[in-house]
């Protein structure tokens, strides 16, 4: 199958599989931090294994956990949700996304989705029989999603707008003014805002993360997902949640019962410990990401490549058009020749085939090594092509 015929997730999982062949592979692709889960979270999980393994959980999660999520969202995002009926705990952000999409869209409906985006959004929309209407963004505009472009893309079938801030893979953050504009559009047209806030604590250079639900008119029409995977290094545990107004959350809760029932009780207590326990590990990891981001940006600059200034997230979206290669082909070449895995922008959007996404989730040494290897490929292409 040609790269163009493959779906985005197929391309990414294909690369992941290939990277496993190399003992010296450096993984700058998948969004899985190299940090291990903080010890106090594992200790809490162990306690739950012994004392709570027989505890039955409702599909939406145990109440203490939903209270902790409510506290966190109020503190961090400035929105108050009732733990009783406005919060559902999920098997990670991925399930949260699927539940939000299934709760909002019916077959034939459309959702506005800014490009580029993490490809499973499209998979989830396709699952429920709805359609994605793409709104393009550009590196020149720092991958900003322009509310005017969103308005222009609306049709009678539009039922929702997806807001990912910070964006994956472009790492742009939606400004307060733009969030307000999206809320105005949603109010005017009776739409639901589906917000992915999974990187909300990971913004840089003083950039502010603003949750759509926190703004006037936003709460009653916004479903928001978040998860502990990225910020607490808990990718394997599958710990996420959806928050929203009670009427929308009633459907999310019913869907959760139908899709998988309650999440693992051990994962729930681990999540509870993450949210209520000491936060110094979180701060340590966040500081590390700031330094790692600088290493990657310096390396990209040294390669003479441009990039979208990452305002948030855990990745840099690098413009590789100078190589003259399609991003998927380039990613395959870098992987095969230098055993470095970076994700091709073409897997996120056909219009982003000039970009690769480089994560900064590995140690500083690995990042330096990985970027040096990447540079060797780029330099070799330049020598070969005379560019």
């Amino acid at each position: 199958m040609s790269n163009k015929a493959k779906r985005g997730t197929e391309i990414l999982y294909g690369l992941i599989g290939e990277a496993r062949q190399y003992d010296d592979a450096i993984i700058l692709g998948r969004g899985d931090p190299d940090f291990d889960t903080p010890a106090h979270i594992i200790d809490a999980a162990r306690h739950a294994m012994e004392h709570s393994s027989g505890e039955a959980s409702p599909p939406e999660g145990i109440l203490p956990l939903r209270r902790a999520i409510s506290d966190r969202v109020a503190r961090r995002n400035g929105v108050v949700y009732d733990p009783a009926d406005e919060i559902v705990f999920t098997n990670g952000g991925q399930e949260a996304l699927m539940l939000m999409i299934a709760a909002t869209l019916a077959p034939g409906d459309e959702i506005i989705v800014p490009e580029p985006n993490y490809n499973t959004y499209k998979d989830a929309v396709a699952f429920v029989g709805a359609s994605v209407v793409s709104v393009k963004t550009s590196a020149e505009q720092a991958f900003r999603t322009d509310p005017a472009e969103v308005r222009a893309a609306l049709t009678a079938r539009t039922k929702a707008i997806l807001l990912v801030s910070p964006n994956n893979p472009a790492a742009s953050v939606i400004s307060r003014a733009d969030q307000e504009a999206f809320i105005a559009i949603a109010r005017e047209r009776g739409l639901v805002l589906i917000a992915d806030d999974i990187y909300d604590v990971l913004t840089y250079d003083g950039i502010e993360h603003v949750s759509a639900a926190s703004l006037p008119g936003g709460r009653e029409r916004t479903l928001t997902l978040n998860a502990l995977s990225k910020t607490y290094a808990m990718t394997g545990w599958r710990t996420g949640w959806v928050t929203g107004p009670a009427d929308l959350m009633a459907t999310v809760r019913a869907l959760k019962a139908g899709v998988s029932g309650p999440a693992s009780i051990v994962a729930q207590y681990a999540a509870l410990a993450a949210l209520t326990g000491p936060q110094d590990e979180l701060e340590r990891m966040r500081s590390a990401y700031i330094e790692r981001r600088r290493i990657v940006l310096d390396a990209v600059k040294a390669m003479g490549l441009s990039f979208g200034q990452p305002q948030g997230g855990q990745f840099v979206f690098v413009d590789v058009s100078e190589t003259g290669m399609d991003s998927v082909e380039l990613a395959q070449k870098v992987l095969r020749e230098e055993h470095v895995l970076a994700y091709p922008g073409g897997a996120f959007s056909p219009d982003m085939s000039n970009f690769v996404r480089v994560t900064f989730l590995q140690s500083e040494d690995k990042l330096r090594d990985g970027m040096a290897r990447f540079k060797r490929v780029v330099d070799d292409i330049r020598r070969t092509t005379g560019q």
Partner: protein, 344 residues
Amino acid sequence: MIDHLREVQRRTAMNDDLSTPAPTLVGRFAFDVASDQPSADLPLDVLDGVTKALFAGQTHYVDVPGMGRLRQLLSDHLRVTERADVAADAVVVTAGIQEARFLAIQVLSETYPVVAVPEVVHPGIRNALGVRRPHEVLRLSAAPEDGYLAPIGAIEEALEAGAKLLVLETPSRLSGATYDAQSVRTIADLLVKHDAHAILDTGFAAWSEAPMPSLALQPNAEGRVTLISEALPGVGLEAWSLGVLATSSEHLAGITKLKQIMSICTSTPSQLAAIEFFDRGLQDVTSVRNSLAKARREAVEQAMAVGATVVPGSCANVLAVATIDGTPVGAADGSVSERRAWRV
């Protein structure tokens, strides 16, 4: 409420037309979902093993269909317990039995859009069907005198009416009744005759005191059965949400793809715990079944002593009874040995 969401809510209103009917013969039954499986205290060395693995850094994403080692162990376990004979790469580790139901039903109903479901089944089946409707759902009659198993005649009628996918529980999660060998052979023949497929929930198989011939092991049914179950029922992991699904190569890619969209992978501590159980040879629950069987026999006597009607069933973990006057009662549950008695 935003107007268009009413339609979404209606669509996900959990299959009203499939609602478990009130059986007319012996009264009304309720279905105890919460304690399908017996609970047990977890061995400390198992927990030590899981904790050690977590501290060693096994806290990251794993393969979408599950850890390779666990898939192999589950493949072996299904073979040893005579439920299925599938390779490890046909096994998917799921986030509990409900995700197994959901994945199997949603993926297979794309290929087989006319689905036949017994009118008395675990509510999770209706919930999974309700997330995204297949084109048509046919109801299979299920009478108390048959332990609420759909009779062969009803299955045949549904297949002749165009059903291509059967969703069956054997043993029944309400009564514990199981299909006998002749019935299983007949169902396999019907699947072949009508070029149909079956999703088979065998989550209660470990508790059956009667022989439990597996539809998945019928030679002519090879490739026509997708088996779902809790991964290790009865060892104390129910709240850890760990399920298993074994399917044919035809449907594996679709199920794995949907699993990836749903949750990327199943929670690693749960998978690690199952591996620890297998490594210690603790997956066998024969002694638990024997003690439950004794409790069940006593419960049957008590039920009959108060004039309740006992629904046929052969699983040690459940007892379905009806009150004389038709008052709604819980499914009697002898499953939770020291923590709860059977309940009405």
